[in-house]
Amino acid sequence: MSAGQGADLIAPVPANGSDINQQAHRGDPVLEIRDLCVDYGWGEDAVHAVIDANLTLRRGQVLGLAGESGSGKSTLAYAATRLLREPGVITGGEVLFHSRPNAQSGPDAVTGSADLLDLGEGDLQRIRWSEISVVMQSALNALNPVATIGHQIQDVLKAHRPDLNRSGRVRRATELLEMVGITGDRLGSYPFELSGGMRQRAMIAMGLALEPQVVIMDEPTTALDVVTQREILEELVRLRDDLGFAALFITHDLSLLIELADEIAVMYAGRLVERAGSESLFRSPRHPYTYGLLNSFPPMHGERKAMTGIAGSPPDLKSIPSGCAFHPRCLHAMDRCSAEVPQLVPLSHGPAAAGRSPREVSCWLHDPQSPHVPAELGQPDPAQAGPADPAPAPAPAAEAAEEGTS
């Protein structure tokens, strides 16, 4: 709408020959979500889908966002990028994007910080895909059924890379497909001509076409079979290492995040209930809901455990229980839990590792006034074992992250 708006915040700079060293910024915040509130509808019937969400996505890291369906995790991500459909309304907060474009960003690139919630259509249009891209659950639905894969990738290039001519765009599109393991001759294929795995690869190639700083992945592997799922995840880890983008990875599958993510945030009924490094969250969950979630998915590795799951079902957002929304299902619920809403606060013990936020939880059990902490929620945190000795990482993803932070 007004392309000039926000020019003081985001000034286009020519990025030709820009040699900003992205490694130097690894671990710096790239997307900060502060006090984000999202409603569906307006007025008295409005449903509060996201309440006071605070999240920081750091450069080169994978932030996992977990929760059952209807917990508001996708709403949070789509609202933060202003892609949420009607009747979604953002009712408060800010989403700060700290842009440090790299060489691939093209002349369209922007630098500086901006609140995405303040930007007009024109500025959003420039940032979208060039700096923040999205990979959705079903590539079949996310790809235009009547346009070829090549055409859809080139549309992105046409919109954001006016410096490329036709042959340049074709070359880049071919390069991108080959990067995700698809031969270049598939450029002329329509989405329905590809297998499910190939379609998702093509979608990922498209998402990385402009080497964005942030990639939002909304259950990108849920629709695939287990084998393909694994292949795609490995591909993603490799690409993240090569290209250095930060990813907000949304899934209901917590065990998948444990291997992939650097940090994990758990959502319940529109609120974040716990946030911690993935190793810490896995070994020593602090919130009863996290504990329940960890016990409802078989881990991909490690010893077999009895699956206990969580009794009851997630609440209807139209009638969220008073106090802590989880208290009707919680084994450790106290009187206080149904009366007062716990806030997401840092746990008292220990400093956080460099480039990381201290782990947080919203549960009265961990309040200083709490009479006791149940044993399963008080396991020693591996991240606290020694200040300079981060936990041994079981998965390649975690190792990659460590390299960046050390």
Binding site: T81, L83, R85, E121, L124, Q125, R126, I127, R128, W129, S130, S133, V134, M136, S138, N141, A142, L143, N144, P145, V146, A147, D155, V156, A159, H160, Y190, F192, E193, M206
Partner: protein, 324 residues
């Protein structure tokens, strides 16, 4: 190309059904309408004419139904549609003179209506809740009014009262048909009001259909992704519209039948010398050979239009090309 072949087969069967209906109806209808007609014409037609009618309807020939059917087909293959009784001329030559006017008027107004209605439908679907929504009830009204009634009102208001448009006929009397500017401009002037009637009556169908498909398509992920890709708005609309238009094209066949039916009556109102007017004459005078010829030619023309729409559909949807 398999889907196109299937369609083609359907149209061949349709043509066969239309021809067979034409053959059977006069022979099987109770009350012997052909005999009544010949009785009425007694003494007013030449013996050759009488023979032509007998040949076409198999009346008084004492042939088996099958051999009548065979000779009916052979007549058709020779381009012989029979003799018009009232006009005392071969039906094929009468139709040859009138059909171009109808196809011109109908073709142009259908294209205008489809293009305009589709564009409006895209706008309505994209900007839901804008002032454009006011078009919805108005268009429903125009959709519900019979074509010929709307034509009558327009003729009265804009033709007879305001004299904005010439009325009745297809070009100014006294002009010699030919490729002269004065003739062509006169043809256009005289076609304006009938075309406006057809466009106003038929546009709502295209518009509402496109709007609904647009609203449905915009709920698809790939349109949101187009937005997320930071594509220019016009391109995002293009993604949605390109998919939303497919059902409109696929359903062209049904819509065109209704448009043709309505447009034929518009010709009556404006006394436009096309097939519709001829149809009225045939009905009033019970000129059965002419009536049947018109039915056959209209059906074949509509089938041809359908086939064109099918080709367009195949060109637009890669998934259909793939089906085997």
């Amino acid at each position: 190309m398999i889907p196109l072949l299937r369609k083609l087969a359907v149209y061949v069967v349709t043509a066969w059904v239309a021809i067979t209906v034409n053959f059977l109806v006069p022979r099987l209808m109770p009350g012997n309408p052909i005999q009544t007609m010949i009785g009425k014409l007694q003494g007013r037609v030449t013996p050759e004419m009488q023979k032509a009618i007998q040949l076409q309807f198999g009346f008084g020939l004492h042939q088996s139904l099958w051999s009548q059917y065979v000779s009916y087909w052979s007549q058709l293959f020779h381009g012989n549609l029979g003799q018009s009784i009232t006009l005392s001329a071969p039906v094929s030559s009468v139709l040859g003179q009138t059909l171009p006017w109808t196809i011109g008027l109908l073709g142009v107004s259908t294209v205008i209506s489809f293009v305009l209605g589709t564009l409006l439908g895209i706008a309505l679907g994209w900007r839901r809740g804008s002032w454009l929504d006011g078009l919805l009830p108005v268009s429903t009204f125009f959709q519900a009014v019979p074509y010929f009634f709307l034509g009558t009102v327009l003729l009265l208001v804009f033709g007879s009262d305001l004299h904005w448009f010439p009325v009745l006929g297809n070009y100014e009397r006294g002009l010699t048909p030919g490729f002269s500017w004065s003739f062509i401009s006169s043809v256009i002037r005289y076609a304006e009001l009938p075309a406006l009637t057809i466009v106003l009556s038929s546009i709502a169908g295209w518009m509402l259909g496109m709007r609904n498909m647009m609203v449905t398509t915009m709920d698809e992920d790939f349109v949101l992704v187009a937005r997320a890709k930071g594509l220019p708005t016009r391109k995002v609309i293009g993604y949605a519209a390109r998919n939303a238009i497919l059902p409109s094209v696929a359903n062209f066949s049904l819509a065109i039948g209704l448009v043709v039916s309505g447009a034929l009556l518009v010709e009556l109102v404006f006394n436009y010398p096309g097939v519709g007017n001829l149809l009225l004459q045939a009905v009033l005078n019970q000129d059965y050979p002419l009536l049947q010829g018109i039915f056959l030619v209209i059906t074949l023309t509509v089938l041809a239009a359908n086939l064109i729409a099918d080709f367009v559909y195949v060109a637009l949807d890669p998934r259909v090309r793939q089906e085997a």
